[in-house]
């Protein structure tokens, strides 16, 4: 049973560029959430996708956008990269919105470095 997978594992970009990160959820899961984890901090919620729509969103600017495909996989796009966007980006999947205590399972993350 494949767990949550993410690609790429590492990425280096320069300020102003755009980046796309990808996530495939655990088998049987239909909901994908994205988190940003800066060094020394806990993960911060970016947004959550269910039925190909953004259902919830954290306090992140519009430069952060996403998409969910019919096979439940998801993309996170970040435009006009800033140095402060350097972080580990984690994808988590769950079944049926993953709210109210439904456990979210995390992928290995994508380490993004913005120079």
């Amino acid at each position: 049973d494949a767990g949550v997978t993410q690609s790429p594992t590492h990425l280096i970009k320069t300020r102003g560029q755009q980046v796309t990160l990808r996530c495939s959820p655990k088998s049987g899961h239909d909901t994908v959430s994205w988190y940003q984890q800066a060094l020394g901090q806990g993960p911060q919620f970016i947004f959550q996708y269910y039925e190909e729509e953004e259902r919830q969103r954290g306090n992140f600017p519009d430069r952060f956008s996403g998409h969910q495909f019919p096979n439940y996989s998801s993309e996170l796009n970040v435009n006009a990269l800033l140095l402060g966007d350097s972080a580990l980006y984690l994808c988590a999947s769950s079944w049926s919105l993953g709210l109210a205590g439904k456990t979210q399972y995390f992928g290995p993350g994508t380490r993004l470095l913005v120079l």
Binding site: G42, P43, F45, Q104, P108
Partner: protein
């Protein structure tokens, strides 16, 4: 503002010691509290505690939820070097119902 606070932020112990990690929260619409272990990248799920399940145990790890004190503890007995990791506490709730994480406790277990 919803928040989750973990203490201590870091801890160094020797193999065989028992440790207690703390998590306190102020989160509206509390649904559940979760503990994760993060070694390199992916946080791995340990426990979920809710109003109907306030105590969980798995091997040397156990956790209790105190809804009156809005807090939880994670206990690890007979620690091993493999327990070295960052332990994250997260609460499901808030205005958006997503997971709100603390900063984590970095545990180092020396041989």
């Amino acid at each position: 503002e919803d928040k989750v606070v973990q203490s201590p932020l870091s801890l160094v112990v020797h193999e065989g010691d028992t440790v207690t990690l703390n998590c306190s929260y102020e989160v509206t619409n509390f649904r559940s509290l979760l503990w994760y272990k993060q070694e390199k990248k992916a946080p791995t799920f340990l426990f979920m505690l809710t109003s109907s399940g306030i105590e969980k145990k798995s091997g040397r790890l156990s956790s209790i939820l105190d809804k009156k004190e809005l807090s939880s503890i994670l206990n690890i007995t007979a620690t091993q070097t493999g327990d070295s990791a960052i332990y994250l506490c997260a609460v499901a709730g808030g205005s958006q119902g997503n997971l709100i994480f603390g900063k984590g406790t970095k545990l180092s277990v020396k041989p």
